[in-house]
């Protein structure tokens, strides 16, 4: 060993070599320059993304709408030009000649609907939505602003196939309900970096300030072939904003009041229940360094007893542009929350009150997320990305202040090397290796540590100009130290066919898996009359997912998407209540979820009226016991209409989820479907936007989970100031 070169020296040597490889390709190259403008106003557009298709080259426009892409090999290319609020434009036949500069003037049409935006999550590299082999929905920040979402999960409600049981997200019925949202089957990522907590594999929707978010991509169906465990139901990737060329400062303040319950007998307090939120964001680019800072505070009395909430967020992002178009992104976010913890209501005639012994119960979370990603374009056909990340997550209750061993901090350390290689115009390889090290501990499930090593490869092969196929494979080797070892292979096959302009037919088959969390295997607790029994024999769950979909654009003003899907599960992990009321996580031997999903969006009357809707029908079955899987509504739909009148807009949204057929906790309780109406209005003048909203306007009373009331009617007033916005 003394004579061998340490591994880090190999890595350093490789990096240096790659750094100097780039110039070797730069002989006899051309360059592309141009300006991008708004087609109506003829004003230059800063921050527009320009990609050279079938290569890994691209850039963004500067403050004056201009761009330059250097060192392009000679040839004829297609450009893809995209920006939020504008229709994505493809420009074919752009010729690059050796040693010369090709100049372009590009005009973008403003649009409310983005028919074909650029997405990065389905294949781990940028591609147009129409080229994806998987069902993907994009929620951009304009959409979030119009819906006046002050919680990230609120923004995802209109997405077809997505349903929430409290904070538990389910995509196409993949998940039911689990306390603390533990063992998520949906992988949450920030800029492609996984952020499930290392101990409970929980999603914390509030972990980053909302003003940090540029857009959110929701990939439906098994994502384990690229993302491994926890992505078996899908992936939600939050893409944070990049610091723009100009200084930009945003403040959003918001205040709301809760109405009283509809029934007099349910009114439990004379106090006015309320909530307030403040968000601040600042960004600016200083030469090659872009800086983005965020801060958020949210306080609420809650709408029922012991439902108060207090949350702090802060974040910072650095984007450092380095020579040869390489760049380093560093992002960190911090969240601290204190919130009342409800097990269940006092009784159905006092549903907004909790039993006396639960009145002081509290949950605490402290989460710090950090990542650094270095993007190195080695040539026009080879890109490398190096990622280092760390997630610190500490959970607690009011008791853990004096008992620090009750919940120990969970530590998740990750690193990844990813390469994108385009050997020729017909092939795109994505490959890499991910490593993750997790440490967790609690008196409820003891101390555990483990690691996962996961090499993966995917090829996208363009068979014809309108037909492409994707083959992917990932191997996950998971070791829980001194306990067990498990290895899984997750393959995937996808096809994308575009028979006509505006029509995309896609089909996917892929496998997914999820290793049981230490919480699910080892939890042993007796809390407020709820007993939890450990199950060390819990096996990893596995699935195969099939998806067939068609997406049809209707000119530039709308689109329609229809999908049929089926997921077959083996050893699905679900919490089960035994006949004495104790909870244990068990394997459902065989389950199947199949369904239909459709979404449509159309603009009318010169884009003043925007109509959208989504519908999902599910058949979620526990085949072994011939029962419906718990906490999965068969039918959900969402209808939304928006009227844009100059600087003002008005929006109405109706959300429906059918009555849940099967539950675990209290099956004899009355259950009702969910019917929620939202009414919103906003007007923009100067740099200010005034927002008004009435949420749950019909004051409809419902439960996602037995004996926990959903949010009652509340009214919100918000003011957004955006200075320096382009």
């Amino acid at each position: 060993m003394r004579h061998s070169l340490p591994a880090w020296r190999y890595l350093t040597a490789l990096l240096i070599a790659l750094f100097f490889v780039g110039p070797l390709f730069s002989q006899n190259l051309g360059r592309l320059t141009g300006i991008v403008m708004d087609a109506n106003t003829r004003q230059p557009l800063p921050g527009v993304n320009i990609m050279v298709i079938k290569t890994l080259m691209g850039t963004a426009t500067d403050d004056s709408g201009r761009f330059v892409i250097r060192r392009i090999p000679p040839g004829v290319y297609t450009l893809r030009v995209s920006m939020m609020g504008y229709e994505t434009r493809s420009m074919a036949g752009v010729t690059i000649t050796p040693g010369e500069s090709t100049a372009l003037n590009i005009h973008l049409e403003p649009t409310v609907i983005r028919v074909n935006p650029i997405v990065v999550t389905a294949s781990k590299h940028p591609q147009s939505l129409g080229a994806s082999h998987q069902a993907v929905t994009v929620i951009d920040r304009l959409h979030m602003a119009h819906r006046q979402s002050f919680r990230l999960e609120e923004s995802l409600h209109p997405v077809s196939g997505v349903h929430f049981n409290e904070e538990n997200i389910s995509i196409r019925g993949s998940s039911g309900y689990s306390v603390y949202n533990v063992g998520s089957r949906i992988l949450l990522m920030v800029d492609g970096v996984p952020v499930l907590t290392p101990d409970l594999a929980t999603i914390h929707w509030k972990m980053i300030p909302l003003l940090d978010i540029d857009h959110v991509e929701v990939v439906k169906g098994a994502g384990s072939a690229l993302y491994g465990s926890s992505a078996m139901g899908g992936v939600v990737n939050i893409i944070t904003r990049d610091p723009g060329p100009k200084a930009r400062f945003q403040i959003r303040t918001l205040a709301g009041v809760y109405d009283r319950p509809h029934y007099e007998i349910w009114r439990w307090t004379d106090e006015t229940l309320h909530y307030e939120q403040a968000d601040l964001a600042y960004s600016q680019r200083f030469g090659p360094v872009g800086v983005q800072l965020g801060f958020s505070r949210y306080v609420s009395t809650g709408y029922m007893e012991n439902n108060a909430f207090d949350k702090w967020n802060a974040s910072a992002k650095l984007r450092i542009r380095l020579p040869r178009q390489s760049r380093l992104d560093i992002y960190t976010s911090w969240m601290k929350t204190r919130q009342g913890f409800l097990i269940q209501w006092l009784n159905q005639n006092s549903p907004f009150q909790v039993p006396p012994f639960n009145q002081e119960d509290e949950l605490r979370y402290d989460i710090i997320n950090f990542y650094a990603q270095y993007h190195l374009p080695v040539s026009s056909r080879l890109n490398l990305r190096f990622r280092l990340s760390h997630l610190f997550s500490e959970m607690g209750t009011q008791y853990s202040v004096n008992a620090p061993d009750m919940w120990k901090p969970g530590q998740g350390l990750g690193c990844e090397v990813q390469g994108d290689w385009i050997p020729g115009p017909l092939h795109h390889f994505t490959f890499g290796t991910e490593f993750r090290w997790d440490v967790s501990g609690s008196k409820y499930f003891q101390d555990h540590k483990g690691y996962t090593v996961s090499p993966y490869i995917q090829e996208e092969w363009t068979l014809l100009t309108n037909l492409s196929t994707t083959l992917g494979l990932r191997f996950d080797h998971h070791v829980l130290i001194d306990e067990e070892t498990d290895s899984r292979l997750s393959p995937k096959l996808g096809i994308n066919y575009r028979p006509f302009y505006g029509t995309t037919i896609r089909a996917t088959a892929g496998s997914g898996f999820r290793a049981a969390t230490v919480f699910e295997k080892h939890l042993e607790a007796d809390y407020s009359g709820l007993n939890a029994i450990p199950n060390p024999e819990l096996r990893p769950e596995r699935s195969w997912f099939y998806d067939l979909g068609i997406r049809q654009s209707v000119t530039q003003n709308g689109h329609l998407e229809l999908s049929l899907f089926q997921a077959d599960y083996w050893d699905m992990i679900e919490p089960v209540i035994n006949f004495l009321g104790a909870i244990q996580f068990q394997n459902y031997i065989r389950a199947r979820i199949r369904g239909l999903e459709c979404a449509a969006q159309v603009c009318l009357w010169h884009r003043r009226i925007e109509l959208s809707g989504s519908l999902t029908w599910l058949d979620p079955m526990d085949l072994h016991r011939d029962l419906t899987l718990p906490y999965r509504p068969r039918l959900t739909y969402n209808l939304m209409s928006t009227l844009h009148l100059g600087p003002a807009s008005f929006q109405a949204e109706y959300r429906y989820a059918s009555r849940i057929e099967e539950v675990q906790l209290n099956p004899l309780d009355t259950r009702v479907p969910i019917k929620l109406l939202y009414i919103r209005a906003q007007v923009t003048f100067w740099h200010l936007t005034l927002q008004l909203a009435v949420n749950n306007a019909l004051n409809y009373h419902y439960t996602h989970v037995e004996r926990r009331m959903g949010e009652i009617r509340n009214a919100t007033v918000g003011l957004l100031m955006d200075v320096g916005n382009r």
Binding site: H262, Y263, I265, W266, N347, Q348, N349, P351, N531, V576, I577, N578, F579, L580, G581, A582, Q584, Q586, W605, H606, R607, R608, R625, L643, G646, Q664, L665, N666, P667, L668, T670, V672, I674, K675, L698, N699, Y700, H701, Y702, T703, M709
Partner: protein
């Protein structure tokens, strides 16, 4: 964009929107569905207590059972706590309308979970001594405003005044079934009819369901009320990994030392522990 639409059309559009909004609001005002509602219908009556209140009493409640026997404890509606201060106590609880198969009174011991052996009263049931005769009456709440106040129940606290005990060892042979969920040891005042879950409920007077699965043997101690006189059946009960009560199986019983083909009886003595009540379970036999 705005110039392509005339001012007149724009005004008519706003009128139309306003009219549509008025119609919508009127409709909603008249037909709003508010979802979950308070429960107005009630069920209640009197509980006639017999016997002394056991010192380890945590609480007593009435449990209303939709379908009898229930598959799990979460298929019961529990009343608020009943105060056991007098011989006759009125009880009442809000219940949705419908037909309910049985109403029972259950006792809970301090620091213990609810236990099937702690049923101390049954609507329609009577007592011969401390033995509960398992006849039960259904109750129907006809509509959402009905109040049924005639559900009177006799409850015998002597059943849980556990002043005697039995103990022994359960030996497991053969291969444990992989789908084992819960294993328990039950003491019965009469032999339950195989497959009759109601018998297992109401003839059981003590149950320990904490036997860990996959062990070779387990030493148990069951506390029982000496007022029953004799335990006629002591058995090991098995429930599969689904934890569904209907999967219950009798996998071994205490055998009469003189006639091993028959269940053995155990006489109970006040303040005494009867030892040597050993049971062997051979998984290969079932």
């Amino acid at each position: 964009m705005g110039q392509t639409v005339s001012r007149k059309k724009y005004r008519w559009f706003l009128y139309g929107m306003g009219l549509w909004l008025c119609i919508l609001l009127t409709y909603l005002h008249c037909n709003i569905d508010h979802g979950l509602e308070p429960i107005q219908s009630k069920i209640g009556g009197k509980i006639f207590f017999q016997g002394d209140v056991p010192p380890r009493t945590d609480e007593v409640r009435v449990a209303v059972i939709k379908d009898f026997p229930p598959r799990a404890i979460n298929e019961l509606f529990f009343s608020d706590q009943i105060t056991v201060a007098e011989d006759t106590v009125a009880w009442e609880t809000y219940m949705p309308s419908g037909r309910y198969a049985a109403v029972v009174v259950v006792w809970k011991e301090k620091k213990q979970s609810w236990n099937l052996s702690d049923i101390i009263g049954l609507y329609g049931g009577t007592f011969v001594g401390d033995m509960l005769i398992p006849t039960y009456l259904p109750v129907t709440i006809p509509d959402e405003t009905s109040v049924i106040d005639t559900v009177d129940i006799q409850a015998n606290l002597n059943r849980v005044n556990r002043d005697a005990a039995i103990e022994g060892t359960v030996t497991f042979t053969g291969q444990w079934p992989e789908n084992t969920g819960i294993v328990g040891i039950g003491a019965f005042v009469d032999t339950p009819e195989p497959g009759n879950l109601i018998d297992y409920f109401l003839k059981n007077v003590a149950l320990d369901y904490t036997v860990p699965p996959f062990v070779p043997e387990f030493t148990y101690r069951l506390r029982v009320a000496s007022s029953f006189g004799t335990l006629k059946y002591i058995s090991v009960l098995w429930i599969d990994a689904s934890f569904d009560l209907t999967s219950i199986k009798d996998i071994g019983f205490y055998r009469d030392p003189e006639n091993p083909d028959l269940p053995g009886s155990v006489p109970l003595t006040y303040n005494m522990t009867t030892s040597g009540i050993d049971i062997t379970v051979n998984f290969d036999e079932f």
